[in-house]
Amino acid sequence: MNDMRILERDVDAKAIKISAKDVQVFYGDNHAIKDVNVDIQDKTVTAFIGPSGCGKSTFLRCLNRMNDTIDICRVEGDIAIDGEDIYDKRVDPVQLRAKVGMVFQKPNPFPKSIYDNVSYGPRIHGLAKNKAELDVIVEQSLRRAAIWDEVKDRLGAPGTGLSGGQQQRLCIARAVATQPEVLLMDEPCSALDPIATAQVEELIDELRQNYSVVIVTHSMQQAARVSQKTAFFHLGNLVEYGETGTIFTNPEDPRTESYITGRIG
């Protein structure tokens, strides 16, 4: 992908997948996210950028209710996926997380075989009726994560024995195996070298065909390379949200401009 093309990116209005309204997040007394309103489109890569501690990861974790696991964390406001409020009492976070997959900052494969890593999700959700179907899902997921050719001969080997980049792609395969609609990625490349990063970025671009991808990144180059939409967070506020090309070339807010040009952060 070429930064020169950034302005000519496809900016057609697409269906809105996730819509957040007036989202507030508190960690105890700490007001971590303030009044965030954002509409995330389907089949689009949306990047969250901003300095450390600005709340972008926190907001990402709100989208699949991973913050529920933190006792002192409190979320207010509405977040809807396909118009359904995910913080509704009737919503089971377990079911939600099957729909909204997540890839973490540090590759965290289960200390089990590669096959078991990928098949775990489909197995607990009953997506495969028998071993043959499961095999198909595992292969598809590994192919989609562009790691099939590297591991197809050693599916029984432990996932923790792979290299860092391979582990992260394995985690992506694991996330797509449950056939989610949204894929959340929390700095997926921060522990990877440039070659592995390039592979994962290529992968993200391919995943856009099927999913709505939300990626948190510290690297503005990465946001520019992979995303169509970018949101800039600062001190818990969503400062600016728009086309990636616009944000990087012609930001409205002076804070965004300062961050992009390296003056704050």
């Binding site: 696991t69 939600l96 997380r97 890839v103 540090k106 200390p111 775990y120 999700g121 923790t160």
Partner: protein, 454 residues
């Protein structure tokens, strides 16, 4: 920033004072000396520890090894039908009526005959004088054989009968000739006799399997006391402890660590569990006495009650070690499981628990080893101070019949007057230590085998 804000450096040493790198300056030498001193303290500490460990092991083995050997007298006992079966019909009920008193003269006669056969000169002229050589258990030993095979009556049968504890002690160097003058149980004529019989193979010292498999015996029969029944008592207690404390402990720690909200109540519970681990074991003993025996009317001295008390004692150990190993599982694994849509329980049972299992296992084994060596609570629930003479038959009897446990048995022996029991106490310690060492080794092996790195 300007240079003015930096405090002035102390004057640099002058060029002429430069110390060569080849010879260390005074400061370096001082630091090196301090380091050497610290290392020598450490080595001295470890050496002291190893020295005491060696002294302990040597004293245990040298004092206890004798318990694994026992002196026997090989004699051919004529099972006189006139004495043993007056009616001559070999009726088992009639045979039972003859107590051990009926057998004693026969055995004494058998030993006396051996002297005559081998032309041994002795001032002891009566068969009754042989009493001091023979264990009080010998008659029971012969009687048991006869009751099992009544057909033997009328025949002369070779027996390996137990020698008295004084004879045993003499051969093991515990009873000395100088001491015999003050001893009412044996005199120097008998010791002369023993000296004469040993080369003939009539009196011999051999490995004593009965010490490991046998039951305890009364105060006057140290030579026939064994730790086997107490071992069975310990085994049943350990089963109770394992069956109760492992599931309860693991379930409690999983709940506290993974599910329970962090609030004042769980903090309180946590503090109390930590404190319970430090409560003296005798407190658990008296609690067991009050609750299990006086309130719930469970049988006294039963391994079931012992196991319940030891379960209470082991639970905190297991909970603390289980929680520690659950905590050691990286949170990223939990995130990963939740991230693919596993429920909390699935994430715990599919991913966290298998990773914590080696730690839980070692904690459990170490808790069990602790419980195996525990004596104080058993004193209070009556698992000590009587003679567990029969091995239990079946699980129910093993759990509910009065029994002792290994450490309680050792304590009991150590209390008794006869020095032969002192030797057996040390022998019991060797067996107990053997169990503890093998359990701890198992714990280490399990940890090594199943420990996973990520």
């Amino acid at each position: 920033m300007t240079d003015a804000s930096i405090p002035a450096m102390p004057a640099a040493p002058e060029k002429g004072n430069r110390v060569s790198l080849m010879e260390p300056d005074a400061r370096t030498q001082k630091r090196k000396a301090a380091e050497r001193r610290f290392r020598s303290y450490g080595i001295a500490g470890i050496a002291t520890g190893i020295f005491f460990l060696i002294v302990l092991l040597i004293s245990i083995v040298s004092s206890g090894a004798g318990a694994f050997q026992q002196t026997f007298i090989n004699a051919s006992v004529y099972l006189d039908p006139v004495k043993l079966d007056k009616n001559g019909n070999r009726d088992i009920a009639d045979l039972r009526k003859v107590s051990t008193f009926g057998y004693t003269p026969l055995i004494q006669q058998a030993v006396f005959d051996k002297l005559e056969q081998n032309n041994i000169e002795t001032p002891l002229e009566k068969r009754g004088d042989m009493k001091a050589l023979i264990s009080a258990s010998a008659a029971a030993q012969v009687r048991d054989v006869v009751l099992e095979n009544p057909d033997l009556i009328g025949e002369t049968v070779d027996f390996r009968i137990l020698a008295s504890s004084r004879v045993d002690g003499y051969l093991k160097g515990r009873v000395l000739r100088e001491d015999v003058a003050r001893d009412k149980n044996i005199d120097s004529e008998h010791l002369d006799l023993v000296d004469a019989l040993v080369p003939l193979g009539i009196v011999e010292k051999t490995f004593n399997i009965d010490f490991i498999t046998g039951a305890d015996a009364s105060e006057s029969r140290a030579e026939s006391a064994g730790i086997g029944v107490a071992m069975i008592g310990s085994f049943f207690m350990m089963m109770v402890v394992l069956v109760l404390s492992l599931p309860i402990g693991v379930a409690a720690s999983i709940y506290l660590e993974e599910f329970a909200p962090k609030n004042r109540w769980t903090d309180l519970i946590e503090v109390n569990i930590a404190n319970l681990a430090a409560v003296p074991s005798i407190v658990f003993g008296i609690l067991g006495l009050a609750v299990f025996i006086q309130f719930m009317h469970l049988p006294q001295s039963a391994p079931l009650v012992g196991g319940l008390v030891l379960t209470l004692m082991t639970l905190p150990t297991i909970i603390i070690s289980t929680r520690a190993s659950l905590k050691a599982v990286p949170p990223s694994i939990r995130d990963a499981a939740l991230g693919v849509g596993a429920s909390k329980m699935q994430s715990v049972f599919h991913h966290v628990l298998p990773l914590a299992a080696p730690g839980i296992l070692t904690g459990t084994i170490i808790g069990l080893a602790q419980a195996l060596g525990e004596t104080a609570p058993l004193l209070l629930i009556g698992m000590v101070g009587f003679i567990a003479s029969n091995a239990p038959d079946g699980v129910a009897s093993g759990l509910l019949d009065p029994n002792s446990a290994m450490p309680a048995q050792i304590y009991e022996w150590a209390k008794r007057a006869d020095p032969a029991f002192y030797e057996r106490a040390w022998g019991g310690i060797i067996i107990l230590l053997g169990f503890l060492i093998s359990m701890n080794t198992l714990a280490v092996i399990l940890r090594r085998r199943f420990e996973r790195r990520w």
